[in-house]
Amino acid sequence: MTATDEREVGAARRRKEDARLITGRTRWTDNLTVPGLLHMAILRSPFASARIVSVDTSAALSRPNVVAAFSGADVADVQGSLPCAWPVTEDIVHPDRPPLAVDVIRHHGEAVAVVVARDRASAMDALEAIEVDYEPLTPVLDLEEALAEGSTLVHPDKGTNLSYTWVFDSAAAGTGADVGAVDAEVVLERRYVQQRLIPAFMEPRSVIVDPGAGDYTIWSSTQIPHILRVFYALLTGTPEHKIRVIAPDVGGGFGGKLHVTPEELITFMAARRIGRPVKYTETRSETMLAGHHGRDMIQDVRLTARRDGTVTGISVKLIANMGAYLGLVGPGTPILGAFMYNGIYKFAAYRFECTGVFTNTTLTDPYRGAGRPEATYLIERVMDELAVELGLDPIEVRRRNWIKKEEFPFTTVAGLVYDSGDYDAATDKALALLGYDELRKEQELRRASGDPVQLGIGTSTYTEMCGLAPSRILGALRYAAGGWETASVRVLPTGKVEVVTGVSPHGQGHETAWSQIVADELGVAFDDVEVLHGDTRTSHKGLDTYGSRSLAVGGIALVEACRKVRDKARTVAAHMLECSPDDLEFTGGAFRVRGTPDAAKTVADAAFAVFAAHDLPDGIEPTLDADATFDPETFSFPHGTHLCAVEVDTQTGHVAIRKYVAVDDVGKVINPTIVEGQVHGGVAQGIAQALHEEAVYDESGTLVTGSFVEYTPPAAADLPDIVTDRTETPATTHPLGVKGVGEAGTIASTPAVVNAIVDALRPYGVRDVPMPCTPERVWRAIRAVGTETEGGRS
């Protein structure tokens, strides 16, 4: 930072966004209407795999208030194929993905036909009049069976269910040794399963397409209005400049709205065919069925170590369920984790292999953390296993392997350069907050007395890569777009400031945090800053919000734009004060002549002078605004230590979280309240993976967790109080020092909880409980070991 006074950055500002959200004056897409609006409903397949023999929409057309009805066959020649922007290998198998199924159904809930009517109820009523003749087929559901010789195929024309195999090998990459050539005094082999999850944002997705007179306006509940606009242009043949996409208030995303959806394309086709605006708002049941899912991987790990606890190598094989098609970034999601399986540790050798597989299920795509929670889960679970194997405390075995503060910047075995961190500081703080030693003593007492309620302590010392992403790295990973971000800052004549950002918030509080940054950079009041976003007419470029990138990339662009504005204001101020720009210092919100602080001009003074333009220095244009685009050199690496203490009722298998401590280091903090809130929510979602949530298909491929009755996001009473604290080790690779926080809690918490459960049950011989650790699974884990023979350890 230069001489700017930091009045706002670091302050626990209350959010600007709240005013409309707490009073109900919110612009959710489903709240919006436009003249002549029609409503669409979608008929979805009850089968996971079927041939469509025929679809007859004629009876639906004759129902009251119905304007149009059509099926996939009716639009087969114009609907195109939904995009996958991340074909991770050159030879990836990438099947077509029609928005409306034409002749084959490949997952339960796939869209088959639509009705457009004057009102929502009429559209739903008329769906029942559509006649579809299906010829059901046997679905492929199991990942390993899908890979087996002779398996039924999801896409018979492709001849395989294998989409791609992607490999990283530290020996080949020159970043480390061969995993087969390192010391292996101890070898641990484990399998973990990342169950399928559903993002379950609270606002169901909604889209309105107004076809205008060939100039389309589209409102969508999306995380990615800019990316969506590009794809609308590419997929529909509409010139990009004739498409305006608006993401109004968006009710959560967590990766679940990082998609170009079939519904967005179908609504577009309906509006174009009819020539009138059409709205589609999904029901929650449809969200569950057809919104993309997350996780769903089988992870096999082989870890080698010396008996002193030094890990020498790790080899990971993933089978990742793509679902029936490739999602927008689905193949890349596990690859986002590929660089994180070594965690915060100094391993000599690393090998990673991921196989993407098709099954007759809803496709998978990012869900909060996207690849990194899976990686962190595996390494943090297996580090606990190593601790047990060697009779070491789980903290101690980690300490022996992690990168020390003085070793930064550190190039990892996966080839990333971690710029900064202090794992000892975060861990020490977390241990003190938890009361680790006291709880270990209590654990001993409970074990000794055979207490039916056992205590367990789980550790997760995580890092993650945030700030997605350096464009050159994305290019090397075959991602179709870049990872830069942009900001525009314009100072209005009265000194108020408008900021246009290319990120697209949906709950993160960017309007507040961005205002804080601008306030300090330009010496203006927090309330004098307006942040504009999410409308491609005002924010014409940007790469939107996901991957904890908004502040770590977009925030830097914002700072750079502010500094350009400030530099220009300095020139103007110097002219007004009849001095050299070099004689001015920017302090207390104004440019002051060094040694004569009363001679001062603010950015607002300069803005009015520029507006009047009566007397500007030579070569100065009469505007006070600037754009900046930032493409990061590298990722940022927040880290932290999460500790969880659980009480497990061994009679029922019930798990109660007794205490949860999260100490996170997200670098420099703009707004501690927002950071804490992000950690709370992230931890809750990670706990939910550990304990509560799982998307389940039955043997016929029917999603049986199709509502919040069966798919169970936790309520307030299902979650613990979360103790949060921070350490602060600024990022060194950019001027803001921030690292990103959106996904940290989710990444860290899942292994902390499961490690705690397994720790509680060690005396019973339990070494794993599959997620989610439901009471029955915990109870079964205890019983299974009780009846198992010795020597099961592999």
């Binding site: 509560h692 049986v704 109870w779």
Partner: protein
Amino acid sequence: MIPVAFDYLRPASVDEAVAALADGGEDAKVLAGGQSLIPVLRLRLSAPSLLVDLGGVAQLRGVREEGDALSIGAMTTHDEVASSPLVRRHAPLLAAMAATIGDRQVRHRGTLGGSLSHADPAADMPAAAAALEARYVLAGPSGRRVVSAADFAVDLFTTALADDEVLVEIQVPKMDGWGSHYEKFHRMVQAWAIVGVAAMVRRTDGVIESARVTLTNMGPTALRATAVEQALAGCAADRAAIEEACSVAAEGTSPIDDLTASAEYRRHLARVLAGRAVAAAAGV
């Protein structure tokens, strides 16, 4: 989702309601609190031609004392049952169990009669009624009849109510002097019970004189754990003896295997929870 269209009637008396049901035939349905029915209608899992809303029948609401029993109107909400001083005093088990249903909003609308008539095997109220040996007053075209809790519950979602009958009142004997407790085991706070065990115990000094134990979600209807009740009669009121008596809690049950839990686990839970419920009811 939006329900399929239906006709709607809001009678002001029980007689009008019964007449409307008789006219409406088998596609007519009674709407009580609607907390189970309306979600089902929304999902279009059911499409009645006529809804007869009992919300306008004032006399179906409230708790009265009638000699040795409480008379609870079928349209009394779970919230009203849970907070009624009469219920809390004379049938605390019923109040405690009503307070565990769903969530606050559901308890504000959902009714005792609606829950009993819906006869969901995972619902809590049937086990409460069974433990309390409640009597149900049904009104039909030919007048009123009274049936026991045991006779009312026929099967999964099936009761002794005829298509043109309405449950109007639940008579609950006062159980002064009995200790009671409900152990409800669920995965999520808002969820249905995986298994629930209701226990009522009358003890003299250190001995259990008499006990009633009923089970939620251990069969198509709420079940009476008669083997446990017999084992508890005359049993010492200490934890070991109670647990021993409750080891037969799964006898005669037929729990389902579903997404939430296996039958085997449910049987195990019934035994553990019965021990806990009885111990708590006995003040152990």
